[in-house]
Amino acid sequence: MADDLKELKIELSKNGIFTTTLEELYNWGRKNSVWPLTFGLACCAIEMIATTMARYDLARFGAEVFRPSPRQADLIIVSGTVTKKMAPQVVRLYNQMPEPKYVIAMGACAISGGPFRDGYNVLRGIDRYIPVDVHIPGCPPRPEALIHAFMTLQKKIDEQALRGESRPRHLHADAPSEFPVPEFGAHGLEPAQNDEVFLNETGNPLRVIQ
């Protein structure tokens, strides 16, 4: 929005006239009804459950409805260790979610493999296969950390433009909505990472428009 329009809006609100844009209204509605998928992988899921209960009460942020089907979910919280045997299922669930969809990688294991990083069976971070919006470190992160991640995600949703080149992935017609599911190979998952998504050590990733 142009600066003079912003000033006009502030000026109007000073005089008791509330104005908004379609984009702001749209993002306001979306960020306050992010429905996560009922999906827990390991001990971080216990913290996620605690976050939704009365003491921490994620319902305050409009996320109390944990949907049991990916078709109805906006957000997948990858809470816990992703084993190589589970990784294809996680990617497939993500693929089945309708756009716009978001990912929170919760805990050391989900972001990097954590203490099991050198194990033969643990995926070293789910961001190898699907685009992650918010990473939370911690082993496990406290419910406050998850709430903070959730607020970060809300802020991110709030800043998404409806038009223009900087608009998010789900508004680009040619950006992918499904990501390739890794296959079980002879020595590990194939491919080991999706280079379209993964920020690898070359430092020059071909990132999906986020």
């Binding site: 045997k85 050198d118 033969y120 069976n121 070293r124 190979g185 020595h187 590990g188 080991a192």
Partner: protein, 215 residues
């Protein structure tokens, strides 16, 4: 609670009732002193049945099956060899010379069973089965027909160590997927190279953090 006979007594009992069975006592020098019995392949199942059904032993519960990978080792030993050596005056004289010889001891895979008795409330008796080597002869007889509780744990040992249990009713991989070719708990297992991210150099991280701390 009836007292369990010592491993030496067990060995004697087994060899008395099963002629031909070769049982070796593997001593354990640690304070726990859990000595174990190494069985030969031909008689392993007969010995297992004997331990399970003997009225004084009744080892009816196999609580644990696990695998151990023993790598090939090299031992050096010094031996004295008589050799013809040129003497100071030019003639050859016989002299004893010390030589070090390197011996290659082939490694093996080992399956270990811990047996208890629910009825007599005693245990454990520890059995070991060894494969001939680590590469092509990795077969041991399965004890699942004797103790049903071995089934999944033998599958696990097969999956992670590659010990093939002959006579197992359903020997498939249990933790890794079908089509996986490695045995990840073996000591020489190397994870696929493309799977590791190069670690960030620690020094540069440290410099960055100190820079942040002292602006």
């Amino acid at each position: 609670m009836s007292a369990l006979p010592t491993v030496e007594d067990l060995k004697a009992q087994i060899e008395a009732s099963l002629p031909g069975a070769a049982v070796t006592v593997i001593p354990n020098g640690s304070p726990s002193a859990q000595h174990s019995l190494l069985l030969d392949h031909e008689h392993a199942r007969a010995v297992a049945l004997f331990l399970r059904d003997h009225p004084d032993l009744r080892l009816d519960f196999c609580s644990l099956v696990t695998g151990v990978d023993w790598l090939d080792t090299e031992t050096t030993e010094k031996i004295k060899v008589k050799k013809m050596v040129a003497g100071p005056d030019g003639s050859e004289i016989e002299q004893e010379v010390e030589e070090t010889r390197k011996m290659k001891v082939p490694g093996y895979l080992e399956a270990i069973y811990h047996l208890f008795s629910m009825e007599k409330k005693h245990g454990p008796v520890i059995l070991r089965l060894r494969t001939a080597n680590r590469t092509d002869q990795t077969h041991v007889p399965s004890l699942t027909p004797v103790w049903r509780s071995c089934e999944f744990q033998e599958r696990e040992a097969f999956d992670l160590y590659g010990i093939v249990f002959d006579g197992h009713p359903d020997l498939r991989r249990i933790l890794m997927w079908e089509g996986f070719q490695d045995f990840p708990m073996r000591k020489d297992y190397v994870p696929p190279a493309d799977d590791s991210l190069a670690p960030l150099p620690f020094a540069s991280l440290q410099r960055a953090s100190t820079k942040e701390a002292r602006p």
